[in-house]
């Protein structure tokens, strides 16, 4: 009898905790739906409402230059051009921010992706767009993984484009794409011998709008690696970066099994 009571009491506890868990789960699901909706509103506000004042800024500065540019010279004209370039930059930043938000929510398709072929294509395109630069390229053949083809293309594009950009001032530039096994995990890496970055700054690289170089040296708003990280996170994977100032950088990613 005593034993049976204990069993009953335990069972009630189990039922009770299952009820609790369900309630918590429901609450979390409701909260998630709420946050998703807020995110939708925010994205819409950024893409629509924030653009309007920017257009005003851009439009009227352009008109000033167009209509009254002949009467302006020296500092006033220089100021106006700075306003214009600020507005143009903000437009690019908004575009990039939207890309990040889209990548975070886009539907994913999992298929076998030939990374070596993708990397070779992307590098061919860069070479074609910038034929004057002799860059030594090495792509390890036969590398593939499961993932979303178009998202992984963005990953390779952004990593290789960075390598291309940051070897701009290097005497004999070299870009390599290869696989690397670390603690049983297979990483795919892009290595270059370009400008590199200051040791200890690797974490900052993957945050939106973080730049570790001067805009005048290497142009860009600083969203490429944040996009890479977001895409790899969606593939249940990890990213890592190693580099040294003036001695090149290596960026690696691994994707999860599922």
């Amino acid at each position: 009898m005593y034993r049976a009571e204990i069993v009953m009491a335990d069972r009630e506890k189990v039922v009770d905790s299952a009820d609790n868990q369900e309630r918590t789960l429901n609450k979390l699901q409701a909260r998630l739906a709420e946050v998703e909706q807020e995110l939708d509103f925010l994205t819409y506000a950024i893409s629509h409402d924030l653009r309007a004042p920017l257009r005003t800024l851009f439009g009227f500065s352009t008109l000033l230059v167009r209509k009254y540019g002949d009467n302006l010279e020296g500092q006033p004209l220089d100021y106006l051009k700075r306003i214009l370039s600020g507005a143009a930059r903000m437009e690019t930043m908004i575009e990039e921010l939207l890309k990040l938000s889209r990548v975070g929510r886009a539907e994913m398709r999992r298929e076998q992706v030939d990374l070596s072929a993708l990397a070779a294509t992307v590098l061919d395109e860069m070479q074609a767009a910038d034929p004057g630069r002799p860059v030594e390229i090495e792509v390890e053949p036969g590398l593939s993984c499961m993932g979303d083809q178009s998202m992984l293309r963005t990953v390779l594009h952004n990593l290789l484009q960075n390598a291309w950009k940051f070897t701009g001032g290097t005497p004999s530039p070299h870009i390599r794409f290869f696989a690397w096994i670390n603690e049983g995990q297979r990483f795919y890496c892009v290595r270059d011998n370009g400008a590199g970055f200051a040791v200890g700054q690797a974490d900052r690289l993957f945050r939106p709008f973080q730049r570790l170089h001067l805009e005048t040296e290497f142009p860009g708003v600083g969203m490429g690696l944040a996009l890479v990280k977001k895409i790899i996170q969606r593939h249940d994977g990890t990213v890592r970066a190693e580099g040294e100032e003036g001695a090149g950088a290596t960026f690696c990613f691994a994707v999860g099994d599922t």
Partner: protein, 147 residues
């Protein structure tokens, strides 16, 4: 319905005075002689189109340029009302908005917008777009009551 020959009437439904001025600027050096009428919200736009109150005796526009996010009555509602009104539904409506959202685009076409154009931030592109609209809608296409 009396239309002035050689002059196109455009109704711009836009609440942002900056954008109104920019459209006016862009239209002013285009090739087609036009008069720009402006309604700054959806209610005013419908009153203009239905010639109510202060708009009695006005002529119908040849073309409507419609923003989507408007005070009092949204551009979507204006579009819906206009396209379901037999007295107005033949007027071409060009949705001209900052939004590039897929949902807005689909919705606008479902509500029978004649085309959807996203306003660029760059003024030079903006001028090109307004000129393209002018060129296509006011000189290439055949509009009703304009023969």
């Amino acid at each position: 319905m009396k239309k002035t020959p050689g002059r196109m009437d455009i109704l711009l439904v836009e609440d942002n005075p900056g954008d109104v001025e920019l459209v006016r600027e862009a239209l002013s050096n285009g090739g087609v002689k036009n008069v720009l009428h402006v309604a700054s919200d959806g209610v005013q736009a419908m009153r203009f189109l239905r010639k109510e109150g202060e708009y009695a005796g006005r002529i119908l526009p040849d073309l409507v340029l419609l923003d989507l996010n408007l005070p009092r009555k949204s551009g979507r509602e204006v579009l819906k009302d206009l396209k379901s009104d037999p007295a107005l539904q033949f007027i071409p409506v060009i949705v001209l908005t900052s939004s590039k959202s897929e949902e807005d685009i689909i919705q606008a076409y479902c509500l029978h917008a004649n085309c959807y154009v996203s306003k660029p931030v760059d003024f030079n592109q903006f001028v090109n777009i307004v000129h393209s609209i002018e060129d296509f809608w006011l000189s290439i296409v055949k509009l009703p009551f304009r023969h």
